[in-house]
Each structure stands twice: as structure tokens, then as C-alpha cells.
């Protein structure tokens, strides 16, 4: 049985690895990067939704904090979605410089976002939702991306 913190932190690592793989293939040629870009974008979107549609809701319901950390995390998700979309456009336009400029920006944004989640939000979520943790993890696991 894994905790909310472990489950989502491991998913961060998985997304990081897909990110590295995508950059690696983009470095060779942007044409080849399409597939790994899709893979990364899909995994990241799934992660965002697991939080936004499952964990954040449970957290907000339990603590009553809707304007607190989860609102900030949603805002950062929007920033990251914007960058990921622009990266897809850069691949279409075959603009390598633009792609790597965006991926660099995304990387740092993503990392400082993950750090805040792993060190603060997930820890808090695990504390507040410890009794429901297995159920929350199951729901995230079973979620279908919209």
C-alpha cells in the first residue's frame, strides 16, 4: 500500500524521465521527438488531473481550504500546460531553438512546482487524508483522463 505522497512523488520521477527522453530525441531531430513528446505530455496531463480531479478535491473537502495551496498548484498547472502546448507548436514549426527554450523553462518551473508539492502539499495531504489514503490512491490509479 503506497501513500499519497509516495504515489504522486513517484509519478513526478516518471514524468521527469519521460521529459529527459523527449529532450534526448528532440536533440537528434524534432521529427523523431513527436512520439516522445506525446508520451510526456500525456503522462503529465494525467498527473495534473489525478491531482485536480481527485486528490485536491479530497484535500479541499477535508480541510476546507480551497483558496490555499491547491489554488496555487492549479495556477502553476495552467502555466505548465501553456508551455507544453507551445512546445508541441514548436515541434510542428520545426523550431528547435524555440523548443529547447520552452523545455528549459518548463523544466525549472516543473521542478520548483514538484518541490513545493513533495515537501509541503503531499505531506499535508498525507497527514489529513491518512485514513482515506488507500482509497484516494485507488481513485487516482483508476481515473480516466478527460
Amino acid at each position: 500500500m503506497s501513500s499519497i505522497k509516495e504515489y504522486l512523488s513517484q509519478d513526478h520521477t516518471r514524468c521527469d524521465e519521460l521529459f529527459a527522453k523527449m529532450e534526448d530525441s528532440a536533440n537528434k531531430s524534432l521529427d523523431n521527438a513527436k512520439e516522445s513528446y506525446e508520451e510526456f505530455a500525456k503522462a503529465t496531463e494525467r498527473h495534473f488531473q489525478m491531482e485536480e480531479r481527485v486528490m485536491f478535491l479530497e484535500f479541499e473537502a477535508k480541510t476546507g481550504m480551497t483558496e490555499g495551496p491547491t489554488a496555487m498548484m492549479r495556477h502553476e498547472h495552467a502555466q505548465m500546460r501553456g508551455l507544453i502546448k507551445q512546445m508541441g507548436e514548436a515541434i510542428e514549426a520545426q523550431n528547435k531553438d524555440k523548443f529547447f527554450g520552452l523545455s528549459e523553462t518548463l523544466m525549472i518551473l516543473m521542478q520548483q512546482h514538484n518541490m513545493k508539492e513533495e515537501q509541503m502539499l503531499y505531506t499535508m495531504a498525507q497527514q489529513h487524508l491518512s485514513a482515506e489514503a488507500p482509497r484516494v490512491v485507488d481513485m487516482m490509479e483508476a481515473m480516466i483522463v478527460e
Partner: protein, 426 residues
């Protein structure tokens, strides 16, 4: 509760770190100019006024400025806490430290006790305000990671280094204090460099390297213990060098062992990173660990040559710290600008890579490394010192230019307000 770091309006204003980052290269330029004007033979002694003045233009003017600016910025992200009255404290401390450094340089160089007295007051107030406010914020942290431990330990060493530094400056005003000068200077310099700067760098690297380059994490045991070991060896080094001089080499070996191990592990982690991209920051990181390895080696060898090579050791160790800091500036400045502009809702803003010209960053790097190697060479053959000083000055002017270009992009975008996109808030 620890929500502070999670809300944008409580993140420090961009001016707080940028103020420090924009001033740092200016002091490095000043150090270069002072070097150009100095007599090479005077610089052979670490205790000459010229050596002290140049060293402090770099250590206080550049290094501590970058560290204080970064602590301000990193505190909410890495520790989840914010500083009390961050704008007021950073603004006033920055001003105090700028004038403190300038007064000290002039006070020592032209033997003006009044300026030295003013410098003491400004340093004490500027440094203590920053250190204490940051430590107070850290006290609120519940989840102590090795990085947060590194930050607090580093600040405690900073506190003592400043106290000793203030005493040392006082010894140039009151002749009675002079007899203690060299012995205090010894601990002051080692604690400031390895304790304040070294520990902070080690602590932050634990978190930053695996993150930004998807590199393997440092081993838990290493992360948890190395800062403790470094601190113990620094204290042991002070005690032995004060009372049991003959044994101080043991403490030194310990200290060097931990830093050399860090350099080696750092290089190995970089090599095994999953993100294969290479950029100017990575180039600086690699260089910094090579400088650190050489610095450690020279410091030990120096033990058997009656401190003949201490200046060379200092150049290498200085190169280690400067490299890691400049490398970080190339990443953090563009990111902060992007982050703050994006946070205001602007979407079509330059990406991080478009803010600083890669070519200029590379030229800056090449000149920097060449000048440091030149300084090492100049210690033995001093004919070309001014040439290398000039290279160093140019490199720092370019660094300043590179940071300013990025900041100007921030100003320009803010002024022209391109396509304000509300979808970021959807």
C-alpha cells in the same frame, strides 16, 4: 502552517534577488581594477592590504551578495517559508552592505579609521539583519530536509565569520587588537569560505542538481551526514589551529576529504544525468568541481611548504565558488524573469534561452577560466598579471551585460504589455 511559499503574492518581489545579482558583478569588476593597480609582489602575501581588499571585493561584494540574493529567492521554494518584511530587509541590508564594502576597501587602502568604523557598523547591521531574519524564517520550517539544514548551518558559520570579520576590521582601528589579527583571520577565512559558502553550496546542490538535470540523487546517508562532518571538521580545525597547531593538519585533511569527495560525486552525478542537454550552467558546474579538486589538493600540499601556496589554493577555491555561482546566475536570472512575467499573465514572452545570448555567455566563461588560470600562473611568473586582470575585468563586464540584457527584457515586456492572456488563470 506552511502555505506561505505556495502563494504567489507572498513570493519575494523580483527586485529582492535581482538587486543583489545586479550589484555582484560590479564588485568583481572593482576587484579586477584593484588587481590591475596592485603590485604583483605585494599580492604574494595573503596578509597584505592589497590582497585583503581584493579578496573582500570578491568574497563580500560578489559571493555574499549572490548568496544573500539566492537565499531570499530560495527560501519559499526550498524551505516553504518566507522572510519577515522581505522587501524592507533586503533593500536596507543591500544598501548597508554596498557601502560597507566600499568603505572597507577605501578605509583599508587609504588607512582611514573613520571609514573602517562606518564599515563595521554597516557590515554588522546589514549581515546580521539578513542572517537573523532568514534564520527566524527557517525556525518555522517543520520538514527539515538536508538542504534546509545546509542553509541554517551555513548561516551560523556566516554569523561567526561576520563577527570575526568585524573584529578584524576593528584591529586596523585599535592597535591593541592587532596581536590577535592573524590568528582570527585564519579561522575567519576558513569558516567564511568552507562554512558559509561551502556548506550552502553543498546543501543546495543536493536538491538542485538532481532536479534540473534529472541526475541521480545523492545517497541519503551522504546527504544526512556530510554537512555534520564538514561542520565538525571546521570546529575541530579552529580548536586545533588555536591550541594544538601540530594536529591541525588532521582536521584539515578531514575537511578536504569531504569537499574533495563532494567534487568527485558531483562530477559523477553530472555524468550520469538523464537530461543529456549541455548548457553554460553545466559547463560552469563541471569547471567548479575541477577547481575544487585542485584547491583541495593544493591546500594539503601547501601544509608541507609553509603556506607558500596558500594564494594559489585561494584562487582555486575562489574559482570553485565563483564558477558555481555564475553558473547558477545564468539559470536563475532568466527563470525569475520568465516566472514573474508569466505570473502577471503575459504569454508571448521570450523563453529562458532567448534572454541571454549563448555566445556572450560562452565568451564570458572562456575569459573567466583563462583569467583564473592566469592568476595561478602569475603567482609564479608575475609578468602577465595585468593582462589576466584585464581578462577578468572584461569577463565580469560581460557577465554584468548578460544579466542586464535579461533584466531589460523584463522591463520591456512589462512596459509593452503584449497579449495579456487570461487563459493562464483559467
Amino acid at each position: 502552517m506552511q502555505f506561505n511559499g505556495l502563494s504567489l503574492e507572498q513570493a519575494p518581489p523580483i527586485s529582492a534577488p535581482l538587486r543583489f545579482y545586479l550589484t555582484a558583478p560590479l564588485f568583481a569588476i572593482l576587484a579586477g581594477v584593484l588587481l590591475l593597480l596592485s603590485d604583483a609582489s605585494v599580492l604574494q602575501s595573503r596578509y597584505s592590504i592589497d590582497s585583503i581588499v581584493i579578496t573582500h571585493a570578491i568574497t563580500i561584494g560578489f559571493m555574499s551578495f549572490v548568496m544573500l540574493g539566492s537565499l531570499t529567492q530560495m527560501l519559499p521554494v526550498l524551505a516553504g517559508v518566507k522572510m519577515y518584511r522581505v522587501e524592507l530587509i533586503t533593500k536596507t541590508s543591500h544598501l548597508a552592505l554596498v557601502f560597507g564594502t566600499l568603505f572597507m576597501i577605501m578605509g583599508l587602502k587609504f588607512e582611514m579609521p573613520l571609514l573602517n568604523t562606518l564599515a563595521i557598523i554597516l557590515f554588522a547591521s546589514g549581515f546580521f539583519a539578513m542572517i537573523i531574519v532568514i534564520l527566524m524564517a527557517i525556525k518555522k520550517v517543520k520538514n527539515f530536509t538536508p538542504t534546509v539544514t545546509g542553509m541554517s548551518v551555513s548561516l551560523i558559520f556566516a554569523l561567526f565569520s561576520v563577527l570575526m570579520g568585524v573584529f578584524l576590521l576593528f584591529s586596523y582601528i585599535d592597535a591593541d587588537a592587532e596581536i590577535y589579527r592573524n590568528i582570527v583571520a585564519n579561522t575567519h577565512s576558513v569558516w567564511a569560505i568552507f562554512g558559509f559558502a561551502g556548506v550552502l553550496i553543498v546543501g543546495v546542490t543536493f536538491q538542485v542538481l538532481p532536479m534540473f538535470y534529472v541526475a541521480p540523487k545523492f545517497k541519503d546517508f551522504y546527504q544526512k551526514r556530510v554537512i555534520l562532518f564538514i561542520s565538525l571538521s571546521l570546529v575541530l580545525w579552529m580548536i586545533t589551529s588555536l591550541f594544538y597547531e601540530a594536529y591541525s593538519v588532521v582536521a584539515k585533511l578531514w575537511l578536504v576529504l569531504f569537499f574533495a569527495s563532494f567534487a568527485a560525486i558531483f562530477l559523477q552525478k553530472i555524468k550520469n544525468r538523464k537530461r543529456k542537454v549541455s548548457d553554460i550552467t553545466l559547463l560552469y558546474y563541471k569547471t567548479s568541481s575541477i577547481f575544487l579538486a585542485f584547491g583541495s589538493l593544493f591546500w594539503i600540499v601547501d601544509e608541507y611548504y609553509f603556506s607558500e601556496h596558500i594564494v594559489v589554493t585561494s584562487i582555486f577555491i575562489g574559482g570553485f565558488i565563483l564558477s558555481i555561482m555564475i553558473g547558477m546566475l545564468y539559470k536563475i536570472v532568466p527563470f525569475l524573469i520568465w516566472f514573474h512575467l508569466n505570473g502577471m499573465g503575459y504569454m508571448s514572452i521570450p523563453t529562458m534561452n532567448e534572454m541571454i545570448d549563448k555566445k556572450w555567455a560562452l565568451i564570458q566563461f572562456a575569459l573567466f577560466v583563462a583569467s583564473l588560470m592566469g592568476f595561478v600562473l602569475s603567482y609564479y611568473i608575475d609578468a602577465y598579471l595585468s593582462l589576466f586582470a584585464l581578462a577578468f575585468i572584461i569577463s565580469m563586464v560581460i557577465l554584468q551585460y548578460n544579466i542586464i540584457t535579461a533584466v531589460l527584457i523584463y522591463k520591456r515586456v512589462k512596459k509593452t504589455k503584449p497579449d495579456f492572456d487570461m487563459s493562464a488563470f483559467a
